[in-house]
Symmetry: C2
C-alpha cells in the first residue's frame, strides 16, 4: 500500500468510525467495520483469490488485526450476499470467536452455513429480509433489496446517533430481473430524502460507460445455441449464479433436454437454491450425472463449473480428456461467464483444448452469453442522483475503479472534498454529516496456504518467485573451521536449473579453494564460510550461465 501509516485519534463517544479492512485496491476480500460507543459491526468477510505472482497461495484473507483484540465488542457480521469475496473468510473469523452472530438473507445464510459445515462450525444466525429492520447494540439496521448476479442480495442502511450510512454491497439495476426482485430505488429515495451521511457504493463497473444489459437477454441466446446443437451441450458458469443456471434449465427444458449438474460446488449450491425456492426446476428436467450418459446425446445438457479455466474443475478436465465425459465432434460447450482478468491464458487453453477434441465452443467473445452482475456508470449515476449522499467512499474495486466511481459522485454534485479514495485500513470518522480521514492502519495480506493461515509471508512468496524463475542450487560441505579444509562434499543439488549434476564439476574445486583462502584470511565460523560459498557459486553461475538461481549453502563443522 502507498499511503503513510498513522494511528487514528481515540474514538470519541457518539462518533462512528468506518474502516474498510479489505476490498479497496482489489476485487475481493470485502470487509468493513463500523464502530460506535465501543461496539463494532462488521459488513461482509470475504476472500481474495491470488494472482500469478502469489504462487501456491490458496486464498487471501482480510487482515483481522484491527478487531482481533476486540472480538467481544463485535455485535455481528452482516453478509450482503453469498459470493466468496463477501462470505469466504467467515470461517476464519469464527475460528477466533465462534459465537459472533451472522446476519443475512435466507440464501446468503444457507450458503455460508454449508461452507461453515465443512469447517465444522455451527454459527449463530439471524435471517433478515428486504424491508426489515434490526437493532444490534447502537446500530439500527435496515435491509434493502438489491439485484446482483446471485439472488437475495441486500444493501444495508446503518443508522447510529452519528448519522446514516448506506452500504450497497454488490448490486446492479436490472429493471427486468428473472425473479422480479429489483434494486429498491423507492427505499433509496426515502433514505436520500431523510439524508444519507455516508455512501459506500460498489465500484466494480464504475469505469464501464452506459448500462449493464439485462440477465434475461441471455436466455434466448442459450436456447438458440442448444436448439442447434447436434449432440451434447456442456454449459460452464459460476456455481452460485442461480439465474444463469435457471436460464440454462429453461432453455434445456424448452428443447426437450435434461440437465445434469457437474462439479461439487455446482451440485451443492443448486441443491440449496432449489430447496429454498430460488431455483425453479421444471418437472423432471434434472438427472443425475451418472445416469445422464444413458440418454441420447441430443437429450442432455451438462451444467458445470470451470468457466475460468481452473485446472481442477470439470471443464479443464474435459478439455484434457481427464473427465468421464469425453468431448468429441458435434459436442457444444458454452462458457456462460465473464473472463476474469488474469485468467485469459487458462481459459483460452481450455477453449483450444475443447476445439481440438471437435467441440463447438460458444463464449462471450463470440455470443451474448454473459452479462455482468455490477452496475455500470449509467446506473451508478441514477443511484447518486436519487440518494444525494453527503459523503462518498467508493468500495469494491481496484484503484482505477474507485477513482472512476469518485468521478461519477463528483459529476452528480457531491463536492470533491466529500469524496474519499481509501485503501484497506483507511480510518474514516463520521459525525453530524461530516466525514474525515483520521488514520491509516498498516494492514497486510493474510495468506491461506495448505493448513496454515498467515504463516506464509511476502518474503516466502518472493522466494517462490525466484525459485520459479531461476530454480536453486544447494551446496553442502562439512568443513574444518580452523583450516578451511573440506572434509565432506561439496555435495551439490539443483532443481529448475541445469539438473545434470556434472555441470557443477567445474565449480567444486573452486569452492574447496575458496574455503581454504577464507581460512587463511581468518574465517573461522560456518556462517562466514556459507557466505564464501554463496559468492563463489553465484559468480560462477552468473558468468557461465547468465542466471541467478537461489543459492543455498549448508556448512557444518566437521
Amino acid at each position: 500500500m502507498n499511503s503513510p501509516v498513522y494511528e487514528p485519534r481515540k474514538l470519541k463517544p457518539g462518533t462512528l468510525r468506518v474502516i474498510p479492512i479489505g476490498g479497496l485496491g482489489e476485487i475481493g476480500r470485502n470487509m468493513t467495520t463500523y464502530e460506535i460507543d465501543g461496539k463494532i459491526l462488521i459488513v461482509d468477510c470475504g476472500v481474495l483469490f491470488p494472482e500469478e505472482n502469489q504462487p501456491g497461495v490458496d486464498l487471501i484473507l482480510p487482515d483481522f488485526t484491527p478487531i482481533k483484540d476486540r472480538l467481544d465488542d463485535v455485535v455481528g457480521v452482516v453478509l450482503t450476499h453469498g459470493h466468496e469475496d463477501h462470505i469466504g473468510a467467515v470461517p476464519y473469523l469464527l475460528r477466533l470467536r465462534q459465537d459472533i452472530p451472522l446476519i443475512g438473507s435466507t440464501l446468503t445464510l444457507a450458503l455460508v452455513e454449508a461452507k461453515l459445515k465443512e469447517h465444522r462450525i455451527s454459527p449463530y444466525t439471524l435471517t433478515v429480509h428486504e424491508g426489515e429492520k434490526e437493532q444490534l447494540g447502537p446500530f439500527d439496521l435496515e435491509f434493502i433489496a438489491v439485484n446482483h448476479s446471485i439472488p437475495d442480495a441486500l444493501a444495508v442502511a446503518i443508522k447510529t446517533e452519528a448519522g446514516v450510512v448506506l452500504h450497497t454491497g454488490d448490486f446492479k439495476m436490472d429493471q427486468l430481473p428473472l425473479d422480479d426482485r429489483i434494486t429498491d430505488l423507492r427505499a433509496f429515495a426515502r433514505l436520500g430524502e431523510a439524508g444519507v451521511d455516508l455512501f459506500l457504493p460498489d465500484s466494480t463497473n464504475a469505469d464501464v460507460p452506459g448500462f449493464t444489459a439485462p440477465e434475461r437477454d441471455i436466455g434466448p441466446v442459450l436456447a438458440a445455441v442448444i436448439a442447434k446443437a447436434p449432440r451434447r451441450v456442456i454449459v460452464a458458469s459460476f456455481s452460485s449464479h442461480v439465474h444463469r443456471v435457471q436460464q440454462v434449465l429453461d432453455a434445456a427444458h424448452a428443447n426437450g433436454r435434461r440437465v445434469a449438474f457437474m462439479g461439487r460446488s455446482m451440485v451443492r449450491n443448486m441443491t440449496i437454491a432449489a430447496e429454498l425456492g430460488y431455483l425453479r426446476v421444471p418437472e423432471g428436467v434434472l438427472i443425475d450425472g451418472k445416469k445422464a450418459a444413458d440418454l441420447p446425446d441430443n437429450k442432455i445438457v451438462y451444467m458445470s463449473t470451470g468457466s475460468q479455466g481452473e485446472p481442477m474443475a470439470v471443464l479443464a478436465r474435459m478439455a484434457n480428456l481427464e473427465h468421464q465425459i469425453e468431448i468429441g465432434k458435434g459436442d457444444t460447450v458454452i462458457l456462460a461467464s465473464s473472463l476474469i482478468p488474469g485468467n485469459e491464458n487458462a481459459v483460452y487453453r481450455v477453449i483450444n483444448g475443447l476445439m481440438k477434441l471437435g467441440a463447438n465452443v460458444v463464449h462471450k467473445g463470440n455470443a451474448k452469453v454473459h452479462v455482468s452482475g455490477h452496475a455500470s456508470a449509467g446506473e451508478l449515476l441514477y443511484v447518486y442522483n436519487i440518494l444525494r449522499p453527503k459523503n462518498v467512499l467508493p468500495v469494491h474495486g481496484e484503484y482505477r475503479h474507485l477513482i472512476a466511481n469518485q468521478e461519477l459522485a463528483i459529476l452528480s454534485g457531491v463536492p470533491e472534498s466529500h469524496t474519499f479514495i481509501g485503501e484497506d485500513g483507511t480510518v474514516i470518522d463520521l459525525k453530524d454529516g461530516h466525514a474525515e480521514v483520521v488514520g491509516q492502519l498498516d494492514l497486510g495480506y493474510v495468506y491461506v496456504d495448505g493448513s496454515t493461515v498467515g504463516e506464509i509471508t511476502d518474503a516466502d512468496l518472493k522466494d517462490r518467485r525466484i525459485l520459479s524463475e531461476e530454480g536453486f542450487v544447494s551446496i553442502f560441505v562439512a568443513v574444518d573451521v580452523q583450516t578451511g579444509r573440506t572434509i565432506v562434499g561439496p555435495e551439490i543439488q539443483a532443481r529448475g536449473f541445469a539438473e545434470d549434476e556434472k555441470v557443477f564439476d567445474d565449480v567444486k574445486p573452486m569452492i574447496i579453494k575458496a574455503l581454504y583462502q577464507a581460512a587463511e584470511n581468518g574465517t573461522r565460523d560456518t556462517h562466514s564460510y556459507s557466505q564464501v560459498i554463496r559468492r563463489t557459486v553465484g559468480r560462477w553461475v552468473n558468468s557461465t550461465h547468465r542466471r541467478r538461481p537461489m543459492i543455498v549453502p549448508v556448512v557444518i563443522e566437521a
Copy 2:
C-alpha cells in the same frame, strides 16, 4: 501437441513439401519451410514469448530439428516483416550457419541487422521490394505489398514446378493507411486468376467479425487527449509500430509539443525508421530524453515502451517511481496498444500505479487509441474471394484462430477436404494442385534461458512450477550405510515453505529413526536411504502442513 507422430514418406522429385515449424497452435515463433528437389526455402524465423506457466524462460524458439542436418540445402530465409515473432529467432538460426541469405524489405532487413549486430553476426542480405521477383534455386519468388502494424511488410508468392503458394505473412487491409501502401489486391487477383495451389493466410483475427478499423482513426483521438492534457504526456506503444509513433509525432507537433523517445528498443527502431524515411519527423519536434526535462511540462510528449506492463520497461518503472520521470498529478499516460492475453494483471497493476500517482490514464478500455494489425473475418473473406485458392493451410494462430480461418475458407467456397488444420511439424506435400498431409514431426519447445539455448527442458519447468507453488525442503545426512546410523545431520533447509527452521525439529528424530529401521531391513546404499528420507519428510509435511514441497535429500556415506 495432440496428433500422432509419423514419418513422412520420402519426398519425390517435383513435389513441394511444406512444413510449418512454428506459429500453428500459438501466436509466435512463426517459421515455415518449403522444400523441393533437395533445396529448402525458409519463410520467417521468429520467437514466442513465454506464458506464466513457463517461468524464467526468456524466449521460445522454433524447433530447428527438421533442418539442422540440412543447413547446406537452405537457399535463404524470406522475412515477411520486422516483428519479433517473425525475425527474433534469426540469430539462433545463423549461429548454426552464418551465411544463410536473408531476403526482405528495406525496413525488415534493417531491423534484423540491428538485432544481429547485438549477436555480433553480419548477415548476407538481399533487399527486395514489392512487385519484384527473385529466383532462389528452384523457387521463383514474387514479393507483394501488404499492410500491417509495421511498415514495409511483404507477402511472398512461391512458384515451383509443383505449383504456386501464397504466404501472406501478417496483414490487414486498411484501405487508407498512413503510408498509402495498401495490401496489393491487384497482385492477389492476378495470382488468383493464374491459380493459387496453396494459400497460407494469417489467422490472428479470423474469429473477429467485421473489419479492422483504420489506423488513421487513432490520430484525432491522440490529438484531442494531448490538446487537453494540462502537463506532461507519456504515450506507450510497441517499439516497432512506426505508424502509431508517426501519429504521436504529428499530434504532438500540432499541439506545439516536442517528443522524446524513451526505452532502448524505441530509440533504436525509430532511429532506423527515420533514417530510412519510414518515419517522417516534423522539423524540430524530436528532443533528447535528458533535455526534455528542461521544457515546460505542457510542451513535452514522452514516447515509451512498456505498454504490456513489462516490469523492466519504462512505463512500469514510472508506475513504481523507479524512473527519473516522476509521474504526478496532471500527467497524462496513453497506452496506445493492444492488451495481449495473459498480460492483463501486469497492465492493470501499471495503470493502478500510475493513477495512484495522480496520472490520467487513457487506454483502449476507455478511448479509441488502438487498432489491430491483423485482418478481421470480413477482410479475410475479400481475400478468399479474390484468390479462390485450391488449398488452404491457415497459419499464425492458436487452434481457435486456425479453425475460424478454416471456416471462412469453407464459407467462401473452398471444399473442406482442401483445407488443413495443421500444427507445428505437420508435413504437407503439394503437386499438381493436390495438397496432402503426409506426416507429423515431433517438434518441441526450445527455451532460451540466460545464455543457454535448449538446455532447459519441460521437466525443469515442471520443477520450477512445483518450486513456485510449494517451495522445497532439502535434507542432508551423512550416514553409516552398514548400520543406518546418522553421523552428520540431518541438516534441513527450506525456502518458499516454512522458512523458520525450528519447524523441522520434530521431523529430525523421525529421519534418524527411519534410517536405522531401513538398515535393519537390509538397506545398504545411499540411494535407498534417500528414498527413505523423501518418504519420511513427505508424509510428515503433508500431514502437518497439508503441503507438498519438493523434497531434496542428500545422503552421503560417512
